[in-house]
C-alpha cells in the first residue's frame, strides 16, 4: 500500500514525506532514552546549529593556510591574532618565537637573565624544595659564565611526543643559541626499523643488518639497553653513519665523538671511520660485562663518523654522542615511541646509573603520560609507578637534577565534541605529587597548553597545532611547547641566580658553593684517555 501511495505522490509531496519521516526519526532520539546518544543536537549545548556559524564571524576558516609552511600563516600580525583568539595569547606568542641572541659572555662578573628572555609564559617549573633543578642550574651557571669546557647536559626521556625530536630540538636550539652550542648530543648508533628521528644530525645505516633491543619491549633480560633505551646489535656487514648537519643554526660542527657500547667477555671488534677515512679498530672484549666508551677528538668542524662491524664476537652499541668543546649546552632527545614511564623499570639499576654518570648528564627530564592516558588506572597507581621510575633513574644522586614533564593534553571525540581524556588530570596530579615527593621539579605541560580541552582548541586553531588523533601536536604545536618549556627553564634559572646572589654575596666567584658541591659530588673519575674530564669538571665531558 505504501508503494501505491508513493506512486501517487507528486515530486514535492514525495520530498516533503521523506523530510517529515527523516525529521520524525530524529525526534525519536529525543523520546527514546536508549537511542539518545544519536541526537543530532543536544538541548542546552552552547552551539546552536546555524546560529553558531554567525557567532564565529571573523574566525579563520578551518581549511585556510594549507599549501605552504605553517609559518606562512602564522608569525606576525593578523596570523598571530587569529591564533591567539583560538588558543590564547600566551600559547600563540610562542609560535615561531623570536630568535634568541646570547648576551656577551666570558666575564667573571656573574650571569644575568633579563625578564624579557622568559616573557610570554604562564606556567613555570615547580620546584618547591629547590633540589629538583639545583644541580642543573649550577652547571648552567658555569656554562653561562663561559668557563672553559663547561658543558651542561640534559637527557630528555619520553614517549612519541619526545621521539619526534620537535620539542627537544626547539629547546636544544634555544638553549644553544643562548648559552652556546656544545653539539647535537646522544643518538642511537643505528635505528634499524624503529621510528626514530633526530633533527640537526645526519644518520644512515643498513637497517636490515641491525638487531635492536628496546627497553620499551623488554627485549633484553639483563636490562642493558644503554643510555638511549635501545641497544643496537651489529652483525657482519652492519654499518651506521652519523654526521653533523649541513643546514640550520646549530649542529653543524663537532669536535668529539663518544661511542657507547657494551663490553663483554665474548665481545667482537668494530671499525671506526672518520670523514670516510679509517681511524680505529675497537675491541669490545672485557673480563666482565660492562659499559665502555671510545672517544675520538677531531678539529671543530663538520664531520661524520662511521661504525662498522669488524670481526669476532657480538658487538652491541648503545649510541654515539656528538659534541663540541663548549662552553655550551647539549640536549639529548631520548624519546621512545609507545613508551610508558614504567618501561624504564626494565633498565638494570646499576647499568642505567653508570650510563647516566658516563654521559655526564646534569638534568634528566621524564616526559611520559601520553600512552598511560589510555590505561584504566587510578591516580595512586600512576603515582606509585612514577615514584619507582624516579628512584630508578635518579638513584638518590644529589648531583643529578630531575624534572617530570607532564603529558600533552589527550582527547577523544565524544558525542561530536573533542574532550580531554579523564585520565589526563589524574596522571598530571600523580606526576606532580611523585615529583615533589622525590625532590624533583615538575613542569605542567598540560596546563601550559591550556588545560582541559586544550587539544580541541589546538586542533581547531590555524595553523593547526594538534593532529587529528588528538594525541599528538603538529610541528607548529611542538614548537610552541618547546619554546614555552625553554622559557620556563630560563625563568627558573633567573630565580636560581637571584637566590644564589642573595644567599652568597661573594658569588662573583667562578662558581657558587652549591654549584661546586653539586657539580663534584658522586662523579666517578675518568679511567681512559681521550676524554678530558675530571671530577672537578663534572659538567665538561662524558665520564668513564
Amino acid at each position: 500500500m505504501l508503494k501505491r501511495t508513493h506512486e501517487r505522490l507528486t515530486p514535492l509531496q514525495h520530498l516533503t514525506t521523506v523530510v517529515v519521516f527523516m525529521f520524525a526519526a530524529c525526534m525519536l532520539t529525543y523520546l527514546i532514552p536508549p537511542i539518545q546518544a544519536l541526537r543530532p543536537w543536544i538541548p542546552g549545548e552552547e552551539d546552536v546549529p546555524i546560529v553558531r556559524l554567525f557567532k564565529r564571524w571573523g574566525e579563520i576558516p578551518a581549511f585556510a593556510g594549507h599549501g605552504g609552511s605553517y609559518r606562512s600563516t602564522a608569525g606576525e600580525g593578523a596570523g598571530t591574532e587569529r591564533l591567539a583568539e583560538a588558543v590564547g595569547e600566551t600559547v600563540a606568542a610562542n609560535l615561531g618565537a623570536k630568535p634568541i641572541v646570547a648576551p656577551p659572555t666570558g666575564s667573571k662578573n656573574g650571569v644575568t637573565i633579563d625578564a624579557s628572555e622568559y616573557a610570554g609564559i604562564s606556567i613555570r617549573i615547580e620546584d618547591p624544595s629547590g633540589r629538583g633543578m639545583r644541580a642543573f642550574y649550577a652547571a648552567l651557571e658555569k656554562t653561562a659564565r663561559a668557563e672553559k669546557g663547561a658543558i651542561t647536559r640534559v637527557g630528555h626521556y619520553g614517549d612519541s611526543s619526545i621521539a619526534t625530536d620537535l620539542i627537544t630540538s626547539t629547546v636544544r636550539q634555544n638553549l644553544q643559541a643562548r648559552f652556546g652550542d656544545a653539539g647535537h648530543g646522544f643518538v642511537l648508533a643505528a635505528k634499524g626499523y624503529i621510528p626514530y628521528k633526530h633533527r640537526g644530525v645526519l644518520q644512515s645505516s643498513n637497517p636490515e643488518s641491525w638487531e635492536l633491543r628496546e627497553v620499551v619491549r623488554r627485549q633484553d633480560r639483563d636490562g642493558r639497553y644503554g643510555y638511549g633505551g635501545v641497544q643496537s646489535r651489529a652483525m657482519r656487514g652492519s654499518w651506521a653513519r652519523i654526521g653533523t648537519a649541513r643546514r640550520g643554526d646549530v649542529g653543524k660542527q663537532a669536535s668529539r665523538f663518544a661511542i657507547y657500547y657494551e663490553e663483554q667477555p665474548r665481545g667482537g671488534k668494530f671499525a671506526v671511520r672518520i670523514d670516510r677515512e679509517d681511524r680505529d679498530i675497537v675491541s669490545t672484549k672485557a673480563d666482565a660485562v660492562g659499559d665502555g666508551i671510545h672517544s675520538i677528538e677531531v678539529p671543530d668542524g663538520p664531520h661524520s663518523i662511521e661504525l662498522r662491524y669488524h670481526r669476532g664476537g657480538p658487538v652491541n652499541f648503545y649510541g654515539v654522542a656528538v659534541e663540541r668543546e663548549g662552553p655550551g649546552v647539549v640536549y639529548d632527545s631520548l624519546g621512545l615511541v609507545g613508551a610508558r614511564a614504567n618501561r624504564l623499570l626494565n633498565f638494570d639499576e646499576a647499568h642505567i646509573r653508570t650510563q647516566i654518570e658516563q654521559r655526564g648528564t646534569n638534568l634528566i627530564v621524564l616526559g611520559f603520560g601520553g600512552n598511560e592516558a589510555s590505561d584504566d588506572r587510578t591516580e595512586q597507581m600512576f603515582y606509585e609507578d612514577y615514584m619507582k621510575v624516579l628512584r630508578r633513574m635518579r638513584q638518590g644522586r644529589e648531583d643529578l637534577a630531575c624534572l617530570v614533564f607532564a603529558p600533552l593534553d589527550q582527547a577523544r571525540r565524544s558525542r561530536g565534541r573533542i574532550r580531554t581524556l579523564p585520565t589526563i588530570p589524574l596522571i598530571v596530579a600523580a606526576q606532580r605529587r611523585a615529583a615533589i615527593d622525590s625532590d624533583c621539579a615538575f613542569y605542567d605541560t598540560w596546563q601550559a597548553m591550556g588545560g582541559e580541552n586544550a587539544m580541541r582548541r589546538w586542533y581547531k586553531a590555524r595553523p593547526r597545532l594538534a593532529m587529528g588523533d588528538f594525541r599528538h601536536a603538529t610541528p607548529a604545536g611542538y614548537e610552541i611547547i618547546g619554546n614555552m618549556f625553554y622559557k620556563a627553564i630560563v625563568a627558573g634559572f633567573a630565580d636560581y641566580l637571584s637566590r644564589e646572589t642573595s644567599t652568597a654575596p661573594a658569588s662573583s666567584d667562578s662558581s657558587t658553593p652549591s654549584a661546586a658541591d653539586a657539580g663534584s659530588s658522586g662523579s666517578p673519575a675518568p679511567s681512559d684517555g681521550g676524554i678530558p674530564s675530571s671530577s672537578a669538571e663534572s659538567n665538561t665531558s662524558p665520564k668513564r
Binding site: T5, M22, G58, F63, G67, Y193, G468, F470, T474
Partner: protein, 475 residues
C-alpha cells in the same frame, strides 16, 4: 558552512522549502536563493562577500556592454576588463605571495641576491575564488564569442555566480548550463528527488565515513611526521590519500549536485571513476571534469589545440595541463606537480601518436589492466607533491619511500579494511552502484526518509572527529 554538518542539512531544508514555497514568484525565489547563498558564503568570512558581489556586478555590466556593441575593438576592451578584474583578484589573493616568495627564492638561488622580507599580503584566500572566477569568465567569454545572450536580469546572473551548492568547490558550472535552466519554468521531477537524496547520502558517506577516516587515521599522521613511518607505511598512506581526495572531492560534488536536484536544477558531473583510467590523459578526462573541459574550451582550443603544428600542439597541451596543475595551489609543490602532470601528458601524447593507434583501438583486457595499474601508480605517487605541505615535506616523504623499511605495524586493521573495501568498490562495475540507487528509488517515501535518517545516525557514530573541511576548499 560545510556540507558535512548539521548546519548544512538545516540550511538546505530551509532553502529548498523557501524555493518551492515561492514557486509562483519566479523573481522572488531567485532573489531568495541569492540572499541564502550570500549568507551561506558569509558564514565563512563576511568581508569577502564584497569580492564576489563586486565580481558579479562587473561581469553583469561587461556582459551587457559586450552584447550592446558590434565594434570588435570595444567588445575586446570590455572582455579585457572582465579578464583583468577576475584574474587580477585571483592573482592578488591566490598567487601574489607565492610569486613574491618565488622571485626571492630564484634570485637567491641563481643570482645570490638575498631579499630578506619579500612583499607579503596578510590576507586569507577567499573561499571558492578559483571556482567562481572561472564561472563568471565563462559568461563574458561566451558572450564575446556570441555563443550566449547576456541576461538582463541581474538577480538571475547573481544566482548563477553565487548559487550555494557549487559556490565554494564546484563543479565549475558555465553560464550556458545554468542560466537557461533559470530562464525556463523550474519544475521538480520525481527522479530528481530520489537522485538528489541519494546523491546527498552518497556524498556524505564518501566524505565522513571514508575521506575523514583515512585522513585522520592515516594520511595526516604520515605526512605530518613521515620520519616516524616506514617506507611501506608511507606507500599505504599515499594510497590512502589517493582514495581520501577522491571521496572528499567527489563526495562534495555529489552533495552539490544532489542539493541542486532538490531545487529542480542540474549541475554537471565532475567525476567518472577516475582511477579506472588507463593513461594520464584519460585520468584528467575523468577527474574534475568541469575544470579540464573549461581549460580545454577556453584555453587549449583557442591556442590551436592539437590542430596546430606538432611542436605548438605539444606546447598547447603542456601549457593547459600546467595551468590545471597550478590552479590547485600557489606553492612550489604545485608547480612541480603541474610540471609532472603536464610532462606525463606530453610524453603520453608522443608515444600514443608514435604507436599509430586510434581512439577505436581496443586493448586486450590484460593490456588494459596493465595500463590501469601503471596509470594508478603515477597518480598515487605524484600525489606526494599534491599533499605535501612544502617541498621539504615532499622530500621527507620521498626519502622515507626509499628507506628500504617494510614494517606496517602502525597501520590499523580499520585502515586496511577501509582501503581494501574502497579500492575494490572503485573497480566494481557501475551497474552494481546503479542497482543500489534503483533499490533506494523503489522504496516508499517514508522508508526513504527513515533510511536517510539511519545513514545520518551511522555517520554521526563513525565520524572520526569534528567536521573536517573539504580539501578543495583551499583552492
Amino acid at each position: 558552512m560545510l556540507f558535512n554538518s548539521l548546519d548544512y542539512i538545516l540550511f538546505l531544508g530551509v532553502a529548498v522549502a523557501g524555493f518551492w514555497l515561492l514557486a509562483r514568484h519566479a523573481q522572488l525565489r531567485i532573489i531568495f536563493i541569492f540572499v541564502a547563498s550570500c549568507l551561506f558564503y558569509m558564514a565563512w568570512h563576511p568581508a569577502y562577500i564584497v569580492l564576489i558581489l563586486g565580481s558579479t556586478v562587473i561581469d553583469y555590466v561587461v556582459g551587457l556592454r559586450i552584447h550592446a556593441t558590434e565594434d570588435q575593438r570595444n567588445r575586446k576592451r570590455w572582455l579585457i576588463v572582465s579578464l583583468v578584474s577576475n584574474l587580477g583578484l585571483l592573482g592578488l589573493f591566490k598567487y601574489f605571495n607565492f610569486a613574491s616568495q618565488a622571485t626571492a627564492d630564484v634570485l637567491a638561488l641563481f643570482f645570490g641576491i638575498e631579499i630578506p622580507n619579500p612583499p607579503f599580503l596578510d590576507v586569507l584566500l577567499p573561499v571558492g575564488i578559483s571556482f567562481y572566477t572561472f564561472q563568471t569568465l565563462s559568461y563574458t567569454i561566451d558572450i564575446y564569442r556570441r555563443k550566449l545572450e547576456p541576461t538582463r536580469n541581474f538577480f538571475q546572473f547573481a544566482f548563477f555566480v553565487t548559487y550555494f551548492p557549487q559556490l565554494v568547490a564546484g563543479p565549475i558550472v558555465r553560464a550556458s548550463q545554468l542560466l537557461p535552466q533559470l530562464q525556463r519554468k523550474i519544475t521538480l521531477r520525481d527522479e530528481q528527488v530520489t537522485q538528489g537524496l541519494f546523491l546527498i547520502a552518497t556524498g556524505m558517506v564518501k566524505k565522513v565515513a571514508i575521506a575523514d577516516y583515512l585522513s585522520v587515521n592515516l594520511v595526516d599522521r604520515v605526512f605530518d611526521q613521515p620520519e616516524l613511518y616506514s617506507g611501506a607505511e608511507v606507500v599505504i598512506a599515499l594510497y590512502g590519500f589517493t582514495m581520501q581526495i577522491y571521496c572528499d572531492f567527489s563526495g562534495y560534488t555529489d552533495v552539490a549536485r544532489g542539493s541542486a536536484k532538490l531545487m529542480g536544477l542540474e549541475l554537471p558531473r565532475n567525476f567518472d571513476r577516475p582511477y579506472q583510467s588507463a593513461s594520464p590523459a584519460e585520468f584528467w578526462r575523468r577527474w574534475h571534469m568541469t575544470l579540464s573541459t573549461w581549460l580545454r574550451d577556453y584555453l587549449y582550443f583557442p591556442l590551436g589545440g592539437s590542430r596546430a603544428g606538432p611542436v605548438r600542439a605539444y606546447w598547447n597541451l603542456w601549457l593547459t595541463m600546467f595551468l590545471i596543475g597550478i590552479w590547485h595551489g600557489a606553492s612550489w609543490t604545485f608547480v612541480f606537480y603541474a610540471v609532472l602532470q603536464s610532462m606525463a601528458m606530453v610524453i603520453h601524447r608522443f608515444f600514443y601518436r608514435q604507436s599509430g593507434r586510434s581512439r577505436d583501438t581496443i586493448d586486450s583486457w590484460r593490456l588494459h589492466a596493465f595500463k590501469v595499474f601503471w596509470a594508478l601508480q603515477f597518480v598515487v605517487f605524484s600525489r606526494i607533491l599534491f599533499r605535501a605541505t612544502s617541498l621539504q615535506n615532499a622530500m621527507d616523504v620521498t626519502a622515507r619511500l626509499g628507506s628500504g623499511t617494510f614494517s606496517v605495524a602502525q597501520i590499523s586493521l580499520g585502515v586496511w579494511a577501509m582501503l581494501i573495501l574502497t579500492f575494490a568498490a572503485h573497480y566494481t562495475p557501475k551497474r552494481w552502484f546503479e542497482s543500489i540507487e534503483l533499490r533506494f528509488k523503489s522504496m516508499p517515501a517514508p522508508a526513504q526518509g527513515i533510511a536517510l535518517a539511519a545513514i545520518g545516525f551511522v555517520l554521526s557514530v563513525v565520524a572520526t572527529s569534528e567536521v573536517v573541511p573539504y580539501i578543495y576548499f583551499q583552492f
